[in-house]
């Protein structure tokens, strides 16, 4: 096997040095009853064969690179500058692990420190951790942190928070006996503050833009939950919005948690992405995840090192702020290189282009008879529309024309019936959008 550097001679010599004749002796401590006698039914493939097999699987998929797509819902397609992969795929980055030995890990450590700073800049928060698994778990950890900070056991969560984030939240909170209370949206599709009492809430989790693409009144929400001494958790599922929206800190958010996949990562069938987590400094000792801090070496040279490890599982064990160990560091590096390349202007422009494309899409779609926007509320780069019939049928019709349509909302929100969520980003050309709209119109025509 080409990955194994021991030659047959080596193996012989090493066994001899150990004074044994057969490597079975190295496994003599395994009770005979459980020694595996079989053979895995997995034939070994050569590198060319494995390539063909995997390319074959890949080719069975319709991919959103060669097919125009309007899918969003927490995973977005954005242009990824070519330089990124060249940097992230540097052996020294991707084949290293957690920077336990700081002196030979300054590359990773400085990168995380820079990443932390970038997210602080985007969010306006004081402290960012080195990453969480994804947006959903980041939000769940935010809820746990809010509980730890406030000592309260109820979590208020906007019904317009990503359905999967809410699902994960329920999974995480259930065994701890925390109560999850959904706050509905009002007639504008925005959080309905009047609907729910806030007194017992450890926090309010509000996604902006919300799952329906709509911009929330975060200032009001923040004030409301703070009045009730709960924390305000600002969640996001489309990180590009951070380039345009006022920073979460301006709404006095206590914790920011969301998905960073848009920052240089392809959709990747949903993973790996990047769990972004930031908070006010006063809560830092309750924060989950790794933190890197500025430091100096014995010669006074600038350096970086992991700090506040006493919060973490390997030291605190069952009293740790979280159980997270391996995180999504390489994705954080990806986001860092993305933001470095885009820069101040570029990042803002991407956000504006997304805004414009989605608005063009919405305008055009609205003109198709029988299609209308679900709400007339300001939105970012996604729009929910109501269709005259089952959106799955529309998606099938679009696929026939080589288009990946939108997300049917009925499964997660039965009350929305035939609604569909469509996203547009800077990569969707006008021509693509026109083609989509045309196809919708034709489908609609065929329906009557």
């Amino acid at each position: 096997m080409r990955y194994f550097p021991l030659s047959p001679d080596d193996r012989r010599e090493m066994l001899a040095a150990l004074g044994i004749s057969d490597n079975k002796e190295l496994f003599a401590d395994i009770p005979p009853a459980i020694r595996f006698q079989g053979e895995f039914q997995i034939p070994a493939l050569s590198e060319p064969e494995v390539t063909r097999r995997l390319e074959g699987l890949a080719d069975k998929n319709v991919n959103a690179k060669s097919t125009p797509s309007f899918l969003g819902g927490g995973i977005y397609q954005h242009y990824i500058p070519a330089a990124i992969r060249h940097l992230v795929m540097r052996s020294e980055f991707y084949t290293a692990y957690t920077p336990y030995q700081a002196e030979v890990s300054q590359g990773t450590l400085q990168a995380i420190f820079e990443y932390q700073t970038m997210i602080c800049l985007l969010s306006g928060m004081d402290v960012t951790n080195a990453s969480m698994y994804d947006g959903a778990t980041a939000v769940a950890e935010a809820a746990l942190m809010a509980r730890a900070v406030t000592g309260k056991n109820q979590i208020l969560v906007a019904r317009s928070l990503h359905p999967q984030y809410r699902a994960v939240l329920r999974t995480y909170l259930h065994p701890l006996g925390l109560e999850v209370v959904e706050v509905p949206w009002n007639e504008k599709g925005q959080l309905d503050l009047a609907a729910t009492p806030a007194e017992n809430a450890a926090c309010l989790i509000l996604q902006n833009p919300n799952f329906l693409g709509l911009v929330e009144d975060c200032a009001a929400a923040g004030q409301w939950i703070h009045t009730a001494s709960g924390l305000f958790v600002y969640a996001f599922a489309e990180a590009i919005s951070l380039g345009l929206f006022p920073p979460a800190a301006s709404f006095d958010a206590d914790i920011v948690a969301g998905e960073g996949q848009s920052l240089g990562m392809p959709p990747s069938f949903g993973g790996p992405g990047l769990g972004v987590f930031a908070a006010k400094e006063k809560y830092v000792r309750r924060m989950p995840g790794r933190l890197v801090g500025a430091a100096q070496d014995v010669d006074g040279k600038r350096a970086f090192v992991m700090v506040l490890a006493t919060r973490e599982q390997h030291i605190r064990r069952e009293k740790a702020t979280s159980n997270i160990c391996s995180n999504q560091a390489l994705c954080a590096l990806t986001a860092l290189t993305y933001l470095s390349l885009m820069g101040e202007e570029g990042f803002r422009q991407v956000a504006e282009q997304c805004f414009c494309k989605a608005h063009y899409l919405a305008d055009r779609l609205e003109k198709v008879a029988g299609v209308k926007s679900l709400f007339q509320t300001p939105f970012f780069n996604e729009v929910a529309v109501v269709l005259p019939s089952d959106p799955h049928r529309l998606n099938e019709a679009l696929l026939q024309k080589g288009i990946l349509g939108g997300i049917p909302l009925g499964r997660d929100y039965p009350e929305l019936g035939n609604a569909m969520l469509l996203a547009a980003t800077e990569v969707n050309s006008k021509e693509e959008i026109d083609r989509l709209v045309q196809a919708v119109a034709e489908w609609r025509g065929g329906q009557r």
């Binding site: 096997m1 890949a58 991919n63 700073t117 993973g271 830092v284 933190l291 994705c331 202007e345 799955h392």
Partner: protein
């Protein structure tokens, strides 16, 4: 050289290339922000920044990285290429099933392969890492007892266990009770028996354990736990030590997690992403997270969401899918026999390396090891030195250090995991370095104490960095 990216910013520069907007500019009818403060840098300078940063890292592709418990094996390059195929990387998780058949098939096939390898019934690939798998597994067990109407909330964990085990148990809402290790480094059966009760939900075990030792009493242990009505959880971080030689399923484990970023060669990425699939015996299958990929009678694949007994979702979508692509590529590349050879070589390497250094260091448990072993540097205390000094001195000699100070039951632990992708001569060179260091410790302890000497930066003042932590750069 250690300038931060922000310090290289120059107003008006950019590394960004955007296609001009081809639709009418829409009026911004929403509140918008002021300047963010992102750096403004051209592409050449961004590239240089990160290329030079990367060179300050030590990585598996640079040299020996015997970080115990982490299985820092070689990351095959073909894995990366396969995961980058647009047919995987550019799939959207909300695509209709008929457009993602290849991805679903891959998930199904990997589930099958892992099930065979671990001796389990089904796997979920949703957990994003080992710790996440632990939480998943514990929640499955919790749900199991909920369904059975039994009130069990104690998780037994050996004193040698990794920190994520108790942390996960706490996160799952359980109480942790620690089980002592016996004189041979295994679970103390008496202590275990004492602590078993009808409140015990599970015993979490790593086997081989974090000392690199196979628990010979595993069948007794399983029996004891099962008789007490509890289940057995297998922390698969150390699957490397027995893969192809003994399967956790056969040992009596009911739930396992596997770290694809360890045994199955996916890169560690400076901390992640990893992947921590969880496999279960039949009794727990109904509780697995949604979506679960099923193969239908007509040979097509479907993401099954309608699983009423499921614990729900552990994270969004299908987990770290691209990591799964890499692991699947690896499993196909090795095949069944290759996986067994992998373990055989990993264990041979560990025992051989151990044989070269055991005289100079202290070996707390004198047994054959599996894929890793733990030494004690207790005696370095005599010369005023700690295990960290040994670690730092190793950096000077061109090696990454082993895991230090873990497991906590060994004083000044040095946990060494060579993996199967290291050559005999590398092991010998590392052994020489360890012996030299022991010699230096006796004759020139300051060499260790002041180490490292020739790394990109020298010993870092942790204490100061923690006293007044600075988490971000600010314009000065």
């Amino acid at each position: 050289m250690s300038e931060l990216i922000f310090e290289k910013s120059r107003h008006g520069c950019s590394g960004c290339s955007l296609t001009p907007l081809d639709v009418p500019a829409a009026p911004l009818d929403i509140p918008t922000r002021d300047r963010i403060g992102l750096p403004e840098i051209s592409e050449p300078e961004v590239v240089r920044h990160f290329v030079n940063l990367s060179q300050k890292n030590f990585s598996v592709d640079n040299g020996f990285y015997p970080l115990g418990s982490c299985t820092m094996k070689y990351n095959p390059k073909i894995n990366e290429d396969m995961a980058a195929l647009p047919g995987f990387a550019w799939l959207h998780p909300y695509q209709p099933d008929c457009t993602i058949q290849g991805a679903l098939e891959l998930i199904w096939e990997l589930d099958q392969a892992l099930s065979e390898i671990a001796g389990m019934t089904r796997f979920t690939l949703q957990p994003a890492a080992g710790a996440h798998g632990e939480l998943t597994g514990l929640l499955l067990i919790t749900r199991h007892f909920e369904q059975k109407g039994e009130k069990r909330d104690i998780v037994l964990i050996p004193d040698s266990a990794h920190g994520t085990n108790p942390a996960s148990a706490a996160l799952a809402g359980c109480r942790v009770v620690v089980v002592r290790s016996d004189a041979r480094g295994g679970v103390d059966l008496d202590d275990l028996s004492t602590k078993l009760s009808d409140r015990v939900m599970a015993l979490m075990l790593t086997n081989p354990n974090t000392l690199g030792l196979f628990d010979e009493n595993i069948l007794r242990i399983a029996d004891l736990v099962h008789r007490a009505g509890g289940l057995l959880y297998y922390d698969g971080a150390n699957l490397e030590g027995t893969c192809g030689f003994a399967r956790p399923g056969d040992m009596g484990f009911d739930v396992v997690h596997i770290n694809l970023h360890k045994t199955f060669s996916t890169p560690h990425g400076g901390g992640g992403p990893g992947s921590g699939p969880v496999g279960v015996k039949a009794l727990l299958v109904p509780y697995l997270p949604v979506p679960l990929v099923e193969k239908k009678a007509d040979g097509t694949f479907a993401a099954e969401w309608d699983r009423p007994e499921s614990i729900g979702m552990m994270r969004s979508f299908f987990g770290n899918f691209l990591v799964a692509v890499k692991a699947y590529t690896y499993i196909l590349s090795l095949g069944g026999l290759g996986l067994r050879q992998m373990t055989a070589d990993a264990v041979l390497n560990a025992n051989y390396l151990l044989s070269l250094v055991r005289e100079a260091y202290e070996l707390p448990y004198n047994r054959v090891c599996k894929h890793e072993f733990v030494l004690s540097t207790h005696k370095f205390g005599e010369w005023g030195l700690k295990v960290i000094d040994v670690a730092k001195r190793l950096l000077d000699k061109g090696f990454h250090a082993p895991t230090v100070a873990f497991p906590q039951i060994v004083e000044g632990a040095l946990m060494v995991e060579p993996t199967e992708t290291e050559s005999k001569s590398t092991l010998e060179a590392f052994a020489r370095a360890l012996l030299e260091i022991e010699e230096e410790a006796r004759t020139h302890p300051e060499l260790l104490h002041e180490a490292p000497h020739n790394t990109p930066v020298r010993r870092i003042d942790d204490v100061a960095a923690n006293r007044n932590p600075v988490f971000r750069w600010k314009r000065s």
